[in-house]
Symmetry: C2
Subunit: 105 residues, 2 copies
Protein backbone atom coordinates (compact mmCIF):
# COMPACT_ATOMS: atom_id res chain seq x y z
CA UNK A 1 0.00 0.00 0.00
CA UNK A 2 3.01 2.28 0.45
CA UNK A 3 5.98 2.64 -1.83
CA UNK A 4 8.24 -0.38 -1.49
CA UNK A 5 11.29 -0.62 0.74
CA UNK A 6 10.14 1.23 3.81
CA UNK A 7 12.84 1.94 6.37
CA UNK A 8 12.95 -0.22 9.49
CA UNK A 9 11.38 2.64 11.46
CA UNK A 10 8.57 3.08 8.94
CA UNK A 11 7.89 -0.66 8.96
CA UNK A 12 7.66 -0.53 12.75
CA UNK A 13 5.14 2.33 12.58
CA UNK A 14 3.14 0.34 10.03
CA UNK A 15 3.19 -2.73 12.32
CA UNK A 16 1.76 -0.69 15.19
CA UNK A 17 -0.99 0.70 12.95
CA UNK A 18 -1.86 -2.71 11.50
CA UNK A 19 -2.04 -4.15 15.01
CA UNK A 20 -4.59 -1.49 15.96
CA UNK A 21 -6.55 -2.20 12.80
CA UNK A 22 -6.51 -5.93 13.63
CA UNK A 23 -8.10 -5.50 17.06
CA UNK A 24 -10.34 -2.45 16.50
CA UNK A 25 -13.95 -3.19 15.76
CA UNK A 26 -15.23 -1.79 12.52
CA UNK A 27 -18.28 0.42 12.13
CA UNK A 28 -19.83 2.64 9.53
CA UNK A 29 -18.99 5.67 11.60
CA UNK A 30 -15.20 5.80 11.65
CA UNK A 31 -15.17 7.84 14.84
CA UNK A 32 -16.78 4.98 16.71
CA UNK A 33 -14.01 2.53 15.88
CA UNK A 34 -11.85 1.30 18.70
CA UNK A 35 -10.77 -1.77 20.63
CA UNK A 36 -13.47 -3.24 22.85
CA UNK A 37 -13.05 -5.07 26.16
CA UNK A 38 -12.71 -8.58 24.71
CA UNK A 39 -10.33 -7.54 21.94
CA UNK A 40 -8.22 -5.57 24.41
CA UNK A 41 -7.75 -8.66 26.58
CA UNK A 42 -6.90 -10.71 23.50
CA UNK A 43 -4.40 -8.13 22.26
CA UNK A 44 -2.57 -7.91 25.57
CA UNK A 45 -2.29 -11.66 26.00
CA UNK A 46 -1.37 -12.39 22.38
CA UNK A 47 0.85 -9.44 21.45
CA UNK A 48 2.26 -7.91 24.63
CA UNK A 49 2.91 -10.71 27.10
CA UNK A 50 6.71 -10.31 27.05
CA UNK A 51 6.60 -6.60 27.81
CA UNK A 52 3.66 -6.52 30.21
CA UNK A 53 2.98 -8.66 33.25
CA UNK A 54 -0.42 -10.00 34.31
CA UNK A 55 -1.74 -10.18 30.74
CA UNK A 56 -3.71 -13.31 31.70
CA UNK A 57 -5.21 -11.67 34.78
CA UNK A 58 -8.56 -10.44 33.49
CA UNK A 59 -9.08 -8.06 36.39
CA UNK A 60 -5.66 -6.43 35.98
CA UNK A 61 -6.15 -6.15 32.22
CA UNK A 62 -9.55 -4.57 32.69
CA UNK A 63 -8.16 -2.02 35.12
CA UNK A 64 -5.54 -1.11 32.53
CA UNK A 65 -8.20 -0.85 29.83
CA UNK A 66 -10.26 1.48 31.97
CA UNK A 67 -7.29 3.71 32.71
CA UNK A 68 -6.50 3.86 28.96
CA UNK A 69 -10.08 4.74 28.06
CA UNK A 70 -9.71 8.45 28.75
CA UNK A 71 -13.03 9.47 27.18
CA UNK A 72 -14.79 6.50 28.81
CA UNK A 73 -16.65 5.41 25.69
CA UNK A 74 -15.87 1.73 26.31
CA UNK A 75 -13.49 1.59 23.35
CA UNK A 76 -9.76 2.17 23.09
CA UNK A 77 -9.48 4.60 20.18
CA UNK A 78 -6.32 5.17 18.21
CA UNK A 79 -5.03 8.02 20.36
CA UNK A 80 -5.63 6.01 23.51
CA UNK A 81 -3.92 3.01 21.92
CA UNK A 82 -0.94 5.14 20.88
CA UNK A 83 -0.67 6.53 24.39
CA UNK A 84 -0.59 3.00 25.85
CA UNK A 85 2.11 1.95 23.38
CA UNK A 86 4.06 5.07 24.39
CA UNK A 87 3.89 4.07 28.05
CA UNK A 88 5.30 0.65 27.22
CA UNK A 89 7.96 2.23 24.98
CA UNK A 90 8.91 4.68 27.72
CA UNK A 91 9.47 1.84 30.21
CA UNK A 92 11.60 0.06 27.65
CA UNK A 93 13.70 3.19 27.10
CA UNK A 94 14.13 3.54 30.86
CA UNK A 95 15.30 -0.08 31.10
CA UNK A 96 17.74 0.46 28.21
CA UNK A 97 19.15 3.59 29.85
CA UNK A 98 19.55 1.81 33.19
CA UNK A 99 21.40 -1.02 31.47
CA UNK A 100 23.65 1.45 29.63
CA UNK A 101 24.42 3.30 32.83
CA UNK A 102 25.23 0.12 34.69
CA UNK A 103 27.44 -1.06 31.84
CA UNK A 104 29.43 2.18 32.09
CA UNK A 105 30.07 1.79 35.83
CA UNK B 1 18.08 -7.37 26.46
CA UNK B 2 14.52 -8.72 26.66
CA UNK B 3 13.40 -12.32 26.75
CA UNK B 4 13.76 -13.88 23.33
CA UNK B 5 11.00 -14.21 20.76
CA UNK B 6 9.22 -10.93 21.13
CA UNK B 7 5.96 -10.63 19.26
CA UNK B 8 5.92 -8.62 16.03
CA UNK B 9 4.25 -5.75 17.90
CA UNK B 10 6.83 -5.80 20.68
CA UNK B 11 9.65 -5.81 18.14
CA UNK B 12 8.08 -2.79 16.47
CA UNK B 13 7.90 -0.94 19.81
CA UNK B 14 11.56 -1.82 20.42
CA UNK B 15 12.50 -0.51 16.95
CA UNK B 16 10.87 2.83 17.70
CA UNK B 17 12.67 3.08 21.05
CA UNK B 18 16.04 2.11 19.55
CA UNK B 19 15.57 4.70 16.82
CA UNK B 20 15.06 7.40 19.45
CA UNK B 21 18.12 6.19 21.31
CA UNK B 22 20.13 6.31 18.07
CA UNK B 23 19.38 9.99 17.39
CA UNK B 24 19.06 11.37 20.93
CA UNK B 25 22.15 13.06 22.29
CA UNK B 26 23.45 11.63 25.52
CA UNK B 27 24.14 13.59 28.68
CA UNK B 28 24.83 12.90 32.33
CA UNK B 29 21.45 14.29 33.22
CA UNK B 30 18.96 11.89 31.67
CA UNK B 31 16.22 14.55 31.62
CA UNK B 32 18.28 16.61 29.22
CA UNK B 33 18.46 13.92 26.59
CA UNK B 34 16.68 14.48 23.33
CA UNK B 35 17.13 14.86 19.60
CA UNK B 36 18.82 18.09 18.56
CA UNK B 37 18.31 20.09 15.37
CA UNK B 38 20.98 18.33 13.30
CA UNK B 39 19.99 14.84 14.40
CA UNK B 40 16.33 15.60 13.76
CA UNK B 41 17.09 16.55 10.16
CA UNK B 42 19.20 13.42 9.76
CA UNK B 43 16.49 11.19 11.25
CA UNK B 44 13.76 12.55 8.99
CA UNK B 45 15.82 12.22 5.83
CA UNK B 46 17.26 8.81 6.68
CA UNK B 47 14.36 7.05 8.39
CA UNK B 48 11.12 8.73 7.37
CA UNK B 49 11.44 9.82 3.77
CA UNK B 50 8.80 7.41 2.45
CA UNK B 51 6.16 8.50 4.92
CA UNK B 52 6.93 12.21 5.07
CA UNK B 53 7.43 14.67 2.24
CA UNK B 54 9.96 17.50 2.18
CA UNK B 55 12.47 15.63 4.35
CA UNK B 56 15.31 17.23 2.38
CA UNK B 57 13.89 20.73 2.75
CA UNK B 58 15.77 22.07 5.77
CA UNK B 59 13.32 24.90 6.35
CA UNK B 60 10.29 22.60 6.30
CA UNK B 61 12.04 20.10 8.58
CA UNK B 62 12.96 22.83 11.01
CA UNK B 63 9.40 24.10 11.12
CA UNK B 64 8.27 20.57 11.95
CA UNK B 65 10.93 20.27 14.65
CA UNK B 66 9.83 23.52 16.24
CA UNK B 67 6.19 22.43 16.28
CA UNK B 68 7.22 19.11 17.89
CA UNK B 69 9.30 20.84 20.55
CA UNK B 70 6.37 21.61 22.85
CA UNK B 71 8.49 22.67 25.83
CA UNK B 72 10.82 24.66 23.53
CA UNK B 73 14.04 23.37 25.05
CA UNK B 74 15.64 22.88 21.63
CA UNK B 75 15.51 19.09 21.96
CA UNK B 76 12.88 16.57 20.93
CA UNK B 77 12.41 14.50 24.07
CA UNK B 78 10.90 11.04 24.11
CA UNK B 79 7.31 12.19 24.65
CA UNK B 80 7.63 14.71 21.84
CA UNK B 81 9.17 12.03 19.61
CA UNK B 82 6.35 9.60 20.45
CA UNK B 83 3.78 12.26 19.64
CA UNK B 84 5.37 12.87 16.23
CA UNK B 85 5.41 9.13 15.49
CA UNK B 86 1.73 9.04 16.51
CA UNK B 87 0.90 11.78 14.03
CA UNK B 88 2.57 9.81 11.25
CA UNK B 89 0.82 6.61 12.39
CA UNK B 90 -2.53 8.36 12.48
CA UNK B 91 -2.12 9.53 8.87
CA UNK B 92 -1.22 6.01 7.87
CA UNK B 93 -4.33 4.63 9.59
CA UNK B 94 -6.44 7.23 7.82
CA UNK B 95 -4.95 6.21 4.45
CA UNK B 96 -5.59 2.53 5.23
CA UNK B 97 -9.22 3.24 6.16
CA UNK B 98 -9.75 5.28 3.02
CA UNK B 99 -8.35 2.44 0.92
CA UNK B 100 -10.57 -0.09 2.71
CA UNK B 101 -13.64 2.08 2.18
CA UNK B 102 -12.89 2.55 -1.48
CA UNK B 103 -12.29 -1.17 -1.92
CA UNK B 104 -15.75 -1.86 -0.45
CA UNK B 105 -17.50 0.49 -2.89
Amino acid sequence: MMAAQLSELEEAIETLVKNYDKYASKGFCRRKRGINKGSFQKMLSQELHHMLTDTENKQAVDQMRQSCDKNQDGLIGFEEYWHLMGTIANSLLFTMEELEENAEK
